[in-house]
């Protein structure tokens, strides 16, 4: 792991020095102006330790910093970890459990306070004190985390996060090696905030930041103003480059249709929400140069409850996987430009992904066509024909369409199916709770960070299944002790040999796919529609469009 980190660090230095002159020139030419963004609604709390939305995470990128960061770059480079508030990537002990970071000097928060090691310690404690949404998962491996999780108020992480004021270092001790810890530290839930930040959800109150921008105004019903941080001096172009616009104005409340019109008229520069489906044809033909299509590490899938009839029967699950016409689903999502059919769990071009599709006519690497006869045969063999199935979907146009299509498929292969659309705010937690006895649903999973475990281990491990809880992310209730053991082995292997681990994850992906605890539907792509004045559009695979690396003048 040490070698891997050093190599990453050297590559980062090279890339940084290569990029520097170009950015400096562009900054002179294009610096200034206001980028105007639109979204139907705010992303929830402003607190970066709590907010767990794509919209929030994207906006935090030019505002907050962690010890490390995902490189602000396009393509696969955007998945690499670079030092941010730390001078360099950490030195790692031989047992892979101790990470030592040296903090950069001279960095100030937007309120003028100096950044120090005490802020780092306090920020890690705060993750637990506020019961952050990933405190019990991503950061549970830090020494002392178990006590913090048991008693959040008096969390000290004693022995877990140790600061050396004189040396300016922070030592992070883990209970066991974690190959993904740097990814986890690069997420907004681990950004460094001033030590005196209250240990409570700050809601609509902006927290001082270290990045080139700060939140200067926020009204969840109206909008957010992000302006330059007067105390920012660029320390790493690859981790936290200075931005082009002086102000980012994010307005909330406009419908998707109105947002498209505003961008077409040059009254706004970009919209967060998905483009309305009935405008795609028009935009794809008349505004091609304003559209950016980017791949996403995401998965639309239909979890099948493996603990309830009829899908407690493996053949019944496989029957659905055979019967679903992925091309039809792709069509519903807007066509092949915007989505690709899938059978397996791991998205294309993701660590551990190897093309695999057993549930198609001519099984092999890729999905080709549904095999309805095989599906009907499997339903007969499973003895589940005629059973009632309810599909729970989100109350959105696309999710409802998929639900109605799946209902047709299930009816065709011999089930009595119906669809229930539930408010988008409730559906995701509703389908997780076993008390609701959900047989089948339609949902999506977007990666937190680029690791196979973020799909396979989180969605299908025994530990992710919690009876009667709204936070039982293993929606299928799938638990296979053998696969679980292999996942643990892959996690351990990743600490020393990531390539071998990815190979193992590929095998696990195939095994999980074969058992069909969920039906893979398609991999979506992100379609960004920007105004004509937006220049230098860059799409980061981790946090999407890098807003402040585009210019408007």
């Amino acid at each position: 792991m040490k070698k891997l980190l050093l190599a990453a660090s050297a590559a980062a230095l090279l890339a940084g020095s290569w990029l520097a002159p170009a950015q400096a020139e562009y900054l002179k030419e294009h610096r200034g102006g206001t980028i105007r963004l639109l979204a139907r609604s705010a992303a929830g709390t402003l607190d970066p330790h709590i907010n767990y939305t794509d919209q929030g995470w994207q906006m935090y990128q030019p505002i907050y910093d962690g010890l490390v960061a995902f490189r602000k770059a396009e393509g696969v480079e955007g998945f690499s970890i670079v030092p941010d508030l730390a001078e360099a990537l950490p030195t790692v002990s031989d047992d892979g459990k101790t990470f030592t970071f040296k903090l950069r000097k001279g960095i100030k928060f937007s309120n003028g306070q100096d950044l120090g090691v005490k802020d780092v310690v306090a920020s890690f404690q705060r993750i637990f004190k506020i019961s952050g949404p990933t405190s019990g998962t991503f950061y549970a491996g830090i020494v002392g985390a178990d006590k913090c999780l048991a008693d959040t108020k008096s969390c000290t992480l004693e022995g877990g996060v140790v600061a050396d004021e004189a040396a300016g270092t922070i030592t992070l001790n883990l209970t066991k090696p974690d190959a993904e810890i740097l990814y986890k530290l690069a997420l907004p839930h681990a950004v460094i905030l001033p030590a005196d930040t209250p240990a409570e959800d700050m809601g609509s109150k902006p927290i001082p930041s270290t990045g080139p921008y700060m939140i200067s105004a926020f009204d969840p019903n109206k909008g957010m103003t992000v302006s330059r941080n007067p105390n920012f001096k660029q320390w790493s172009e690859e981790a936290q480059p200075d931005g082009y616009p002086d102000v980012v104005q994010y307005d909330f409340g406009l419908s998707e249709e109105a947002a498209v019109t505003a961008i077409q008229n040059g009254e706004a520069d970009w919209m967060f929400d998905a483009l309305p489906s009935d405008r795609l044809g028009e935009l794809g033909s008349k505004s091609m140069d304003q559209l950016h299509i980017s791949p996403l590490s995401a998965w639309w899938y239909a979890p099948l409850n493996t603990r309830m009839a009829p899908f407690d029967n493996e053949k019944a699950r496989q029957a659905v996987a055979y019967a679903v016409d992925r091309n039809t689903l792709v069509k519903l999502f807007g066509g092949k430009v915007l989505a690709s059919p899938v059978c397996q769990v791991l998205p294309p071009d993701f660590p551990g992904h190897e093309d695999y599709c057993p549930f198609t006519k001519n099984p092999g690497a890729k999905w080709s066509a549904p095999d309805v006869d095989k599906a009907k045969q499997l339903v007969e063999e499973s003895g589940t024909k005629g059973q009632k199935v309810t599909i729970i979907v989100e109350d959105t146009a696309i999710s409802r369409s998929i639900g109605v299509y799946l209902q047709s498929v299930l009816t065709n292969i011999g089930y009595v199916a119906d669809v229930k659309p539930i408010s988008s705010n409730l559906q995701f937690t509703y389908i997780q709770n076993t008390n609701n006895k959900v047989q089948m649903s339609v949902t999506q999973w977007y990666k937190d960070y680029p690791a196979a475990s973020d799909f396979l281990n989180i969605l299908f491990s025994c530990a992710s299944y919690r009876e009667g809880s709204d936070a039982s992310i293993n929606i299928s209730g799938f638990c296979d002790k053998d696969i679980d053991a292999q996942m643990q082995k892959a996690l351990d292997l990743g600490v020393t040999d990531q390539k071998a681990a990815d190979k193992l994850w590929a095998a696990i992906d195939k095994q999980v796919t074969d058992k069909a605890p969920a039906v893979g539907l398609f991999t979506p792509k992100r379609l960004d529609f920007v105004s004509k004045r937006i220049g230098n559009f860059k799409f980061n695979p981790q946090f999407n469009w890098i807003i402040t690396q585009s210019w408007v003048q």
């Binding site: 044809g281 069509k331 430009v337 146009a397 299509y405 659309p421 379609l527």
Partner: protein, 338 residues
Amino acid sequence: MSSQVAAMPRKTRGPWAVAFAKLATDRAAMASLAVFLIIVLACFSAPLYAKWAGTDPFASTLDAVIQIDGADVPVMEQSTEGLGLGYTPIGPTWRLGNYFLGADSQGRDVMARLLYGGLNSLLISGAATIFTLIVGTMAGLIAGYFGGITDTVLSRLLDVLWAFPIYLLAISLSIVTIAQGIAIGPIEIQSGSLWLPIIIIGIVYIPYVARPIRGQVLALRHSEFVFAAINLGVPGWRILWRDILPNITTTLIVFVPLMMALNMLTESALSFLSIGVQPPAASWGTIIQDGQALLYTRPLVALVPGLAIAVSVMALNVFGDGLRDALDPRSKVRLGRD
């Protein structure tokens, strides 16, 4: 001859005949009734239309291809210009039986769904009206006739129900029951059943009927013929059934079209919010919801069911007004022979 005629006793018509005659002279009411009956007939012909058109209005048919003037036309047309983004459902062909109003985003025939949707909207609003009238009338009769603690309890219950904004209460009840249905003892209603919106809509409008009925019964309770019946020892239920109920029948009849119009609007609103009729079944509200995502390219998908609701509700309201005038003995509607 003329003196002979004058000497004959004049044949008087009963109150119902008079009311019917009055109604028949109200052109607006009769025209509205005709419009509504045409809509009802059209909606009840939905299965026949779907069979004749050879279409399944509930199944996704995204890959379907139809023939127009001998040419094959896909029901979902992919954009061929530029990036080739998105699919647009076929627009109106104006050919009955062949996607007359075009397709929705699932490639289903909108005309067939419109008729099926109307059938469901009419069934739900009609059944909910019957439910409301039965329960509301019973509550009004009992509260008004027996008075005392019975009246107090029933009236307070109605007040509580009345205190909630109608749509908020309907939405709340729908959200609670939509996923799991209702199971009270031996009575079990499945989550996708049409009985759910019927009962929910029926419940929220009970005070609408019960309160005015109670007021009328209170007045009738102190009338001489009721006192006479009581003094003769006639049992209470018999007085209610034989003496009081007939006297409030006209009010109940007037309630029917008005309640039906209200219920139709409520059903459409709930279905539009995905908490009424559940997909793939249709109601005019769900079709508007489907059409919302097609407003830019295929506005008719949302506009036509909207128009159907507006015309039906207007027809019911105008007919209801005419019915009220006709049944009101103080009405100034003049009959030719009277």
